[in-house]
Subunit: 225 residues, 2 copies
């Protein structure tokens, strides 16, 4: 294989999978978009086999739906799944931030500080996309610092649905300032091992992640189930 389009280290199948997933979560491929093994294989210049593997993996995460002998399409955003994702994050992150207040590696705390200042810069640059990624990274660092990487990675499966709706939200009013402030408060609570405050702020923080789903739904009715 010539690797013309990309010199990614992984196999072609893995590359197709991660590229497709990225495009789906970023809404570059909007919900409802019809895909097909042949079409994608031509676009990515690989055979149908790795494309098919990607579809299988994406279907397992409910990011695409495969209708046998009919076609494959990017799944519509399921508001129930979005709410469940928020629910899972609320429960798990409250517990994790409590753990973090009991014990958290100094180097991870430093990562949080670095992340916070990066967030500040992103907000000043009004770079929503970058802020989005820093927000994700912030929470991932929390899980990793509590040695809950596996939990985080399973959570990501649900989170993909939440993130698609957050992506829509990105174009309206993300109040990044408020979210940044909460990130800062959480970090400080961890530093002084104040579990009750940390949990309380985290709960409020996560309650803001979904906010007005109905508004988004009215704006993009064809994106939702």
């Amino acid at each position: 294989m010539v690797e013309s389009w990309r010199s990614q280290p992984g196999s072609a199948g893995n590359n197709v999978y991660s590229r497709l997933k990225q495009q789906i979560v970023s809404l570059e491929l909007p919900p409802g978009t019809a895909l097909s093994e042949k079409e994608v294989s031509l676009a990515f210049e690989v055979s149908r086999t790795p494309v098919r593997e990607s579809f299988v993996r994406l279907a397992q995460e409910d990011l695409v739906v495969v209708l046998p002998q009919r076609g494959t399409r990017v799944s519509l955003i399921d508001p129930d799944l979005v709410e469940e994702a928020r629910f899972m994050r609320e429960q798990l992150e409250k517990a994790v931030v409590r753990l973090a207040c009991a014990e958290f590696p100094a180097e991870r705390l430093a990562e949080l500080d670095a992340n916070l200042s990066a967030q500040k810069h992103s907000i000043e640059k009004h770079d929503g996309r970058e802020m989005f990624e820093l927000d994700e990274a912030f929470h991932r660092i929390l899980f990793e610092g509590c040695r809950k990487q596996g939990t985080w990675s399973v959570l990501q499966q649900m989170n993909a649905h939440l993130n698609r709706s957050r992506m829509l939200w990105l174009s309206t009013d993300p109040h990044w300032g408020q979210l940044y402030e909460q990130h800062r408060e959480i970090t400080e609570a961890i530093r002084r091992q104040d579990a009750d405050t940390a949990e309380q702020v985290m709960q409020h923080h996560l309650s803001l992640m979904i906010s007005n789903l109905t508004v988004l739904r009215e704006k993009h009715p064809d994106y939702f189930k």
Copy 2:
């Protein structure tokens, strides 16, 4: 296709996947077992393609590890993942049982009662395998009654690792009696909407699920990472 070995409704790929997964979680295929696309395709009388799809899906759940150009084997039980699975269940089930105390459909409550009496019969018959399945069903009903099916199904991915170690535990000392009693207490707490008791019992209940992992590890050192 002749469907000689099975008249399952789903596609060949789905059948291979579910059969393999069942065999892995039940330890019929012990951790570390070498698989190969060819070998499995011969055993299941299908081509390599659906087998390969199954491997991809199982690899995504960390139930098999694929070493490119070298082979595929059933993953070893990762104690960290087992503990994380228990952690996830603890956090999520505590929250769910609280929701159940606030609101729970009468028909689901009836399912819990039916499940409880079935558990009683299984214990009298000393049928550990059936009790295991009823235990799973009990908790699933809780999630479904709170409309958290998606949460349950994502949780299952982590739970597969926990279940493999519970499967080992099955041959030693499951104290099903105590677990049954706790199931009963949880059901009663839901019936009288006593959230604090329900959460407390649930927490204790789930803490028993892992118990002495070190003992299992000494007994089957080759099954663990």
